[in-house]
């Protein structure tokens, strides 16, 4: 081991002495910065991953649409199902309606599905908290939990559905009565955007409500998990005859995903300032060390040390502080992520904000997902910043004239 590496280690971790307080403070600063970055980016990734899973579970990996009512959808489904990457392809019809129960109106989004085939794309079984998929028929609906709560309806109760078709018929001086249906089940996906305001009906019922005849609005497709939706969409768009076109879930939610990524990048940039502030602590503590050890630096010169080696000794101390702080930050960050739900629930209980958390953040548990690229970026940024923090003290030490240093009081 070179003497400057040896001395750098010994000055930070002296033999037979307590851990120096000044080193402890510098390491703690880096540790906090790294831990906060890991926790926040982990949770941001978790949100992203959870949204991806919910979107895929409720919308499929991609949709095939034509912008018009699609009548010969069975042929398209048969073609799609021949592709090896397609796990399932199911028709859907979707639109807004007005639902009323006991004079309480709501304006949910209706998804008309084929209950038997839908399981291939949407795991309805997992989402239903009351009722079974086979309970859904042309005279019944499944309501999302929050919608049922706001309407004040319970399973077995009846709701009336007013579709836009009613207005269309009114213009033609026809009166169409609202459709009265039974609530056959309640579902909860865990994604508040859907759980707040969604009705699931049979495809047949939705076709009646929207006057689609035998047509549908499109086809939802689920792919194998290993396949990239964008690649499959590109291949499909080369093969599908216009006006048919495929849209991946990434495209359909591009704005939302962009905002999510932007938030993550901004948070990374802002939180990196914690590491930067700790770098100032490293610089100031090492500068103090250089002043305190002026005569020892002079001695090193007298023993034959080259100026760059003296500089290395202090620069390496910055690196070691960075390594210790980053390692502890990783440990602390992963520990906090592991117990994140306990922490968040305790916090929510103390601040009585459990309901608000679900309402605003869409999820009842805090998701987290660590991305190796983020971890690499955090570690690299922290180590580079810590090492750079040692450069100014290193430069000062290297520039010290040994004779002046030896004469200093």
């Amino acid at each position: 081991m070179s003497w400057y590496l040896y001395l750098a280690l010994r000055q930070l971790f002296p033999a037979g002495k307590r851990f120096p307080f000044i080193t402890l403070v510098s390491v703690a600063g880096v540790m906090l910065g790294v831990a906060v970055l890991i926790i926040v980016l982990g949770v941001m990734n978790g949100f992203g991953e959870e949204i991806r899973r919910k979107v895929v579970d409720t919308q499929g990996h991609l949709r095939v649409e034509s912008g018009q009512i699609l009548y010969r959808y069975q042929e398209v489904i048969a073609e799609l199902e021949q592709r090896p990457e397609v796990v399932a392809a199911v028709p859907y019809a979707a639109g807004m309606v007005m639902v009323q129960h006991a004079n309480r109106p709501a304006f949910p989004l209706v998804q008309g599905i084929d209950p038997a085939a839908e399981q291939g794309v949407m795991p309805l079984d997992d989402f239903l908290i009351y009722g079974r998929p086979e309970d859904l028929d042309d005279d019944s609906v499944f309501l999302s939990v929050f919608l049922a709560r706001s309407l004040g309806v319970i399973p077995g109760g009846e709701v009336e559905i007013y579709s836009p078709l009613l207005l269309e018929r009114l213009r033609q001086d026809e009166i169409l009565l609202p459709r009265s249906v039974r609530v056959a089940g309640l579902f909860e996906t865990g994604w508040h955007q859907i759980d707040e305001n969604t009705v699931i009906t049979t495809l047949r019922l939705m076709q009646d409500l929207y006057g689609l005849g035998d047509g549908v609005h499109g086809i939802k497709v689920r792919l194998r998990d290993r396949d990239d939706p964008d690649t499959v969409v590109a291949a499909l768009n080369r093969e599908l005859e216009p006006p048919l076109r495929a849209i991946s879930w990434l495209d359909a939610n591009r704005d939302f995903l962009f905002i999510l990524q932007l938030e993550k990048n901004v948070l990374f940039f802002l939180l990196l300032f914690i590491v930067l502030v700790s770098a100032f602590a490293i610089t100031s503590s090492l500068l103090i060390t250089v002043v305190r050890k002026t005569r020892e630096i002079g001695l090193l010169g007298a023993l034959g040390a080259r100026p760059w080696q003296v500089g290395q000794c202090f620069c390496l101390q910055g690196l070691f502080i960075g390594i210790c702080g980053t390692s502890l930050g990783f440990a602390f960050g992963f520990l906090a992520l592991h117990f994140r739900n306990d922490i968040i629930q305790t916090f929510a209980r103390l601040t009585q904000s459990e309901a608000a958390l679900v309402r605003f953040y869409q999820f009842s548990v805090l998701p987290a997902e660590t991305d190796p690229r983020d971890l690499f970026l955090i570690a690299a940024a922290s180590l580079v910043i810590s090492t750079l923090a040692g450069l100014i003290p290193a430069w000062r030490a290297a520039r010290l004239d040994p004779t002046e240093a030896l004469r200093s009081e």
Binding site: K17, E296, L303, G304, P402
Partner: protein
């Protein structure tokens, strides 16, 4: 070493320092020759330039004029980096204030001199143990400097100065911070060890009794060395 056994030669060394609006010429042309194994004491009033002369000899401080030869080689032709490397091999320095690194134990302080020349070898570690034994600290090698007395610290510094088998030891008032008895013991040890190792010694001291024990004696006054 040169043919006539001279290991260190200085010719007309001059050193000036600015002092207010005038220039103070501390050394006004110092000539010096030191043979292998020879000891030389230098006395002089405080501020007369004794430490400056040692720093010039060690190549730590640039000369304003004059030439300096280590084993017949002119050091002014060397780069700063080479000078530092050669210094680690050619010169061992001992200071009044010991200057041990407080974070490492006595053994590591001695071994630091070998680390300056690269990774310490098994021979170096054996030599450290031998030197610690020779200076009477074989049982205290694992002690940090803070747990050693002044005399013990200076013994560690002597062992460190001798580790790389330098040709010249420059001792700047090595007994200045010690009581009379301990100082005498340290000087005995220093002279004995230089004799055993064949190292030349330049001893800067205020103590005339100590100065009398070297082979040659000089007084630094009015910017020049005056030999007895």
């Amino acid at each position: 070493m040169s043919k006539n056994g001279v290991v260190l030669r200085a010719e007309g060394l001059k050193k000036r320092f600015p002092s207010g609006d005038r220039v103070l010429e501390v050394l006004q042309g110092v000539d010096l020759e030191l043979r292998a194994g020879e000891s030389l004491s230098i006395r002089g009033e405080s501020g007369c330039g004794k430490t400056t002369l040692l720093h010039l000899i060690a190549g730590l401080e640039p000369r304003d004029e004059g030439r300096l030869f280590w084993r017949d080689q002119a050091v002014e032709t060397w780069s700063r980096s080479r000078l530092a490397g050669e210094r680690a091999r050619f010169i061992g320095m001992i200071f009044q204030a010991f200057y041990l690194i407080p974070e490492i134990d006595a053994r590591a302080n001695v071994l630091l001199a070998a680390r300056m020349l690269g990774r310490p070898k098994a021979d170096d570690r054996e030599r450290v143990e031998g030197l610690l034994k020779r200076v009477g600290l074989e049982e205290r090698g694992h002690h940090l400097p803070a747990r050693l007395s002044g005399g013990e610290r200076q013994r560690v510094a002597i062992a460190r100065a001798l580790l790389n088998r330098p040709a010249v030891i420059l001792a700047d008032e090595p007994t200045g911070n010690l009581d009379e008895t301990t100082g005498d013991a340290i000087l005995d040890l220093l002279l004995e060890l230089c004799g055993e190792e064949g190292a030349s010694l330049v001893l800067v001291t205020h103590n005339p009794l100590h100065a009398r024990r070297t082979d040659r004696r000089a007084v630094l006054a009015h910017g020049g060395l005056h030999f007895d």
